[in-house]
């Protein structure tokens, strides 16, 4: 039995006591930065921003949930907290019953992530980047020898470019390699943080198709954070809106529209917040730097 399997309870039969894939309770995060202007005037200058404000939700195993939000709404902060890359200032978050702070090693075995920036060592090739990353998850060269070419083929990455430096690849190609890196370790929870932002329409569709394929063929729970309303509606079973750190709701898209009496999620966002979804104020720009 692998360590991942040991960390995730088996689901041979329906068990009501089974922990949810993701359980977030009253999760809060506040960032503090020095403010030089304020310092000059008052001697001690600090700016604080609430990135997440008592966020609560659960996601069941196998579910795909989208969290919508503008830039600076706290989406990336949420993903980083669930990835054990940030420490919360309040509340708790659990992955399959494992606390992200107290049991971070167990959580790390279960989770992987694709972020808006396909971060790689740019001089290294796709195959090299995947190879060393897999070792961090305990995969030997014998295990990755066939798996890396197979997974790159699965995401539609051309085999003749596997040994080319990442810096020579388009953003769409790099994002496919990022997806391959995340899937290579067989995560049971996949955190997708704006995986299609900045991609050309064709690459965007290819990545979205691949996410659909993961939903059907992979035993993964997916949390998709995006500011693309159509993408959220098309890919997720439930949609939540994160607004300035607060989760307004998390329901099937049709129920949200029905509740607010609107025909689109964009209108529902307006009805819930009184603001246009695409409209961002100075405060949102400022929040983006923090969150």
């Amino acid at each position: 039995m692998t360590e991942t399997q040991e960390a995730v309870p088996m689901v041979g039969v329906r068990d009501v006591a089974l922990p949810p894939a993701i359980a977030v309770r009253e999760l809060g995060k506040v960032f503090t930065r020095r403010d030089r202007k304020k310092r000059r005037r008052f001697g001690k200058g600090r700016r604080t921003r609430v990135a997440l404000d008592a966020v609560t939700f659960t996601i069941e195993r196998g579910e795909t949930v989208a969290i919508l939000g503008q830039n600076g709404s706290g989406k990336s902060t949420l993903v980083r907290l669930l990835s054990t890359l940030l420490l919360p200032d309040g509340g708790s978050a659990e992955i399959f019953g494992h606390d992200v702070v107290a049991e971070h090693r167990a959580v790390r075995r279960l989770v992987n992530r694709v972020s808006v920036e396909a971060s790689f060592f740019k001089k290294m090739s796709a195959a090299e980047n995947l190879s060393y990353a897999a070792r961090y998850y305990g995969m030997t060269s014998g295990q990755t020898r066939d798996k890396i070419p197979a997974i790159l083929t699965r995401v539609g990455f051309p085999s003749d470019r596997r040994d080319e430096s990442m810096e020579n690849l388009s953003r769409g190609m790099q994002q496919k390699v990022a997806l391959a890196r995340a899937l290579l370790t067989s995560p049971v929870v996949l955190l997708l943080d704006e995986p299609t932002t900045g991609l050309d329409p064709r690459s965007k569709l290819e990545v979205q198709d691949f996410i659909r394929e993961i939903r059907t063929s992979h035993d993964s729970t997916i949390l998709l954070c995006t500011h693309d309303l159509a993408e959220a509606e098309a890919l997720a079973e439930r949609v939540g809106i994160l607004d300035r750190g607060r989760l307004l709701f998390l329901e099937p898209a049709d129920e949200i529209k029905r509740r607010y009496g609107t025909s689109t999620l964009e209108e529902a966002f307006f009805a819930a917040t009184g603001r246009e979804f695409e409209a961002e104020g100075d405060d949102d720009d400022d929040r983006e730097v923090f969150a």
């Binding site: 360590e3 054990t84 090693r105 992530r113 920036e117 971060s119 060592f121 060393y132 030997t140």
Partner: protein, 278 residues
């Protein structure tokens, strides 16, 4: 039992992954490394030529022994620079490329992560130090070392590396706290460590307070041991006076380095310093 074995195996594979990654990067940047090696040779020559300069200006000294003494100091300086650079890059380079979050969210313990980084730094540093020594000693200066025990010198350098890695771990936390200037502070630590350790002169010429610091610096024992092995031809059995302090400093510095790094990591996770733009 099986789980423990599996975890240990996964940790070793993970540490191997760090070595593998550094090997790929070294391969990709090999021409830059060669250019940097040429700079290191030039820098070492400027120091070793000082002995010739003193002789030319009428100074009375054993030129061969003085040049060898200076060369050993310069090679240890360069070696320490490599070790610290690799360990500082644990954070700095990864932050620049944006991969740091993926590394820090992997289920690899920080101890094995840093051990992998340290292991590659030692292997790479030893190869470079050996080349640097050979090029300067025998290609440029034709230095005479009839009694040299290179094996003993090698052992002293390897044992001292454990302490250096511990100190490097403490330094590598600096880019987490200050992404812009943290790496530069590592060079300050390198210089400070060597200046009190008799890098180009005997420790006895230093002020008393510096000599006290020298007693806890691993570089003091490394430089003494290597000079005794190469210049005086002393074997490993005569090195015990240098080896035991190095082992004790290593036993203390590695856990201390890990603890300081973990505190820095907690700080970075608290304040969101791991992300590239933060």
């Amino acid at each position: 039992m099986r789980t423990t074995f599996g975890t240990m195996r996964a940790e070793l594979v993970g540490a191997g992954g760090v070595v593998e990654r550094n090997a790929y990067l070294t391969k990709r940047y090999i021409w830059w490394d060669l250019a940097w090696f040429a700079w290191t040779v030039a820098n070492t020559l400027t120091i070793v030529f000082i002995a010739k300069g003193i002789e030319a200006s009428g100074g009375q000294l054993d030129v061969n022994a003085t040049m060898t003494t200076l060369l050993i100091g310069a090679v240890v300086w360069a070696y320490l620079g490599i070790l610290f650079m690799f360990l500082m890059e644990t954070v700095a380079w990864e932050r620049w490329e944006g991969t740091i979050e993926y590394t820090f969210m992997a289920p690899l313990s920080r101890a094995m992560h840093l051990a992998g980084q340290g292991a590659f730094a030692i292997i790479y540093g030893l190869v470079r130090a050996a080349f640097l020594f050979v090029v300067c000693a025998f290609v440029f200066f034709d230095l005479s070392m009839p009694n040299a025990d290179f094996f003993a010198a090698f052992v002293v350098l390897v044992v001292s590396s454990i302490s250096f890695i511990g100190i490097g771990m403490m330094m590598s936390v600096l880019p987490l706290i200050s992404p812009e200037k943290g790496t530069q502070l590592g060079f300050v630590a390198q210089g400070t460590l060597l200046v009190v350790s008799g890098v180009y002169y005997p420790v006895e010429v230093l002020p008393q307070w510096m000599q006290w610091i020298a007693t806890v610096s691993p570089a003091t024992y490394a430089l003494d041991g290597i000079r005794e092995a190469i210049i005086e031809g002393q074997g490993l059995t005569a090195m015990w006076d240098e080896l035991w302090p190095l082992m004790i400093i290593g036993v203390v510095s590695i856990p201390l380095g890990l603890w300081i790094f973990s505190r820095g990591e907690q700080y970075a996770k608290k304040h969101g310093k791991l992300k590239r733009s933060g």
